[in-house]
Symmetry: C3
């Protein structure tokens, strides 16, 4: 077995686009393991793809190659990149789709730019000799990213693919803020298939002590331990390490009409 390649795209499962990428990969690297992360990212939703990949990559071996193709600018001058970190290698357009990976290996350099720290290294994919010819102008996932992933998983050195780059594009994520009274104000940053709300507040950012959680006019007292603690709203430390709000046996999204970006405030209980 020559490595693992994961795939995160907005290609959906109706057409043959994902399979075309897999065919190209298997033609070059017949023994690689292919794992779908999600192909149901809404078309062009770079932020959602970035969050999904960011919440999953740590559960794969560090030798894994993660391919992320949500690429509304395909065929334009946006760069294609490879990012190598101790926790995995990542391939995709330089459009922010790797934001939740990059943020662990960088110092910020402006709202949309990150300078890589020494733990990580990135190159621009520039050398055509690895591409699947003829390269289409609309499907770089198949013609550029797939063959590069196949060869990287075999062990081709990073320098074979193009010149080193030191700064990468990141999305301007909302961040939770600490208020003067000790409370933390965050946001809903992801809503999952169950309608659970994943906030941007990490465990370490929670006030220590008993807390209450406010969102959309509701107040939840204390953190629960699981989704079944109650028939009503429950706040838990979710499996991604962020504060989550759930509704036992239902969808909070539907129940509260919650949306991405909604404010969530965590206060120390009186």
């Amino acid at each position: 077995v020559a490595g693992i390649i994961t795939l995160t795209t907005d290609f959906g499962l109706d057409d043959g686009y994902v399979a075309a990428m897999k065919g190209v990969i298997l033609g070059l690297n017949p023994d690689v393991r292919l794992v779908d992360i999600s192909h149901q990212v809404p078309p062009g939703d770079i932020g959602r793809a970035a969050f999904i990949l960011g919440s999953v990559y740590r559960f794969f071996p560090g030798s894994t190659v993660h391919l992320a193709v949500v690429d509304p600018g395909v065929g334009t001058s946006r760069r294609a990149i490879i990012l190598q970190t101790p926790d995995g290698s990542f391939i995709g357009p330089d459009n922010g789709v790797l934001t939740f990976v990059i943020e662990n290996y960088c110092t910020p350099a402006g709202e949309n730019m990150a300078l890589l720290s020494q733990e990580a290294m990135a190159v621009e994919i520039a050398k055509r000799r690895f591409f699947h010819e003829p390269v289409s102008s609309t499907f770089h996932g198949r013609d550029i990213f797939a063959p590069v992933a196949a060869l990287l998983a075999i062990g081709a050195p990073l320098a074979d693919f193009g010149p080193r780059v030191d700064s990468l594009l990141v999305l301007p994520c909302p961040r939770p803020q600490k208020e003067p009274d000790g409370s933390v104000r965050g946001h809903v940053q992801y809503i999952d298939h169950f309608g659970n709300l994943v906030t941007d507040i990490r465990t370490a950012q929670l006030p220590s002590g008993r807390v209450s959680i406010e969102l959309l006019g509701r107040v939840i007292s204390g953190l629960g331990h699981n989704y079944a603690d109650t028939g009503e709203l429950v706040a838990v430390i979710g499996s991604s390490g962020y504060l989550e709000v759930a509704l036992a046996g239902g969808s909070v999204e539907t129940f509260l009409g919650a949306r991405l970006g909604d404010s969530v405030i965590v206060r120390l209980s009186a």
Copy 2:
């Protein structure tokens, strides 16, 4: 290749939850084969997951490990179990999701409880040393079931995971009844993607001789041999061994407004 692991969940394909489980599995057992059964089980629908797994597991080698994670009680005191049978090993919460497997290896012991026969053996998953730490309270699929499946597929003995249990929880399934006049009264127990109605009446339970099938005010004369026998309703012995009602080129579910639990009566024709 170290075994096959199948996955049946209600996690959907939008998020990264299934991939996180696969990453954990591949980290422990890099050569295992992973096969998705379904991740489109409606959230918390234990009965539907149980039927799907029950209709599929016999088509896999007996060495296969089947992982079933439809687990609305995750993090509560519900047990996590491994069930080993000649036809496969099964891992999941002890909440009925293995009902259609258990029923082949048990004697009933009350409406919701089954005593395992000697062909099968079960243990409660209790020893933490195999878990993926830190164990979240909301995602045992990733932190408990996935690593246990990976190690079981490698060949770890059942006793390594916890103490033996003899009775398991099963769902109270509707069963077809033989009426005094020789007819059989069953129910719609599953509706598939095509809108075909799968009843709970097995081939062996059909009256011998020419039959007619009644449901929702319609009468179907005789069993057909395939879906194309007619432009109207057709009753066939379906591929799972149950009597099915289908509509050639369409959905019976939509055509008749059929629902789970609807009565289906099979009579000997006059």
Copy 3:
């Protein structure tokens, strides 16, 4: 690793049908690679399955076995076939689902029939000894096509499966026509997940010179190079080698209310 098998079906991802096929395949050929092309073909939509498979198979190694099971006539007298070509082997019902493969290796012989050329060879699947018994009348994907694919991928010779056939059924596809004034009149033949319209006009059939593209009362001037060239409609040579019409950042299907079969006219610009 003993080969690659791809799967294209209308079985959807909700039920266990696809997994049952995979279980049968892995029981016979434990080392084969399985790749899903699409299982989201609308029930019975042979033409859509044919297009999807036709646009993807060339990206797989020539040793790949492609299984296509969109089979509304399952259990009737329609033939089951294997088609072997230099670009891959194909298994499915003889109902047109292989049309976009066959057209590359045949001479037409009437509207719905194609005579194979010498490059390709086909057999009817007739010998039961390879079937998964008992063979159901409604799920030949599992009981006939899956085991045949497994054994073909291992290297079983074509003649083992049944007698040679020389003519195969093909769908009567709309073809673009060259008009007296040099323009080309084609049709929308596929609409993808993004709402992009794929026409039946191949690159080689485009008039040489600067063109304009008309559909549904709109005129697009010239071919673009990618989807991001404009905020409006754009015509591009798509990744399948056909002329496509797209809307940057949106769905043309929705924007224009486009449908399969809609006329697309390409004219030389004045």
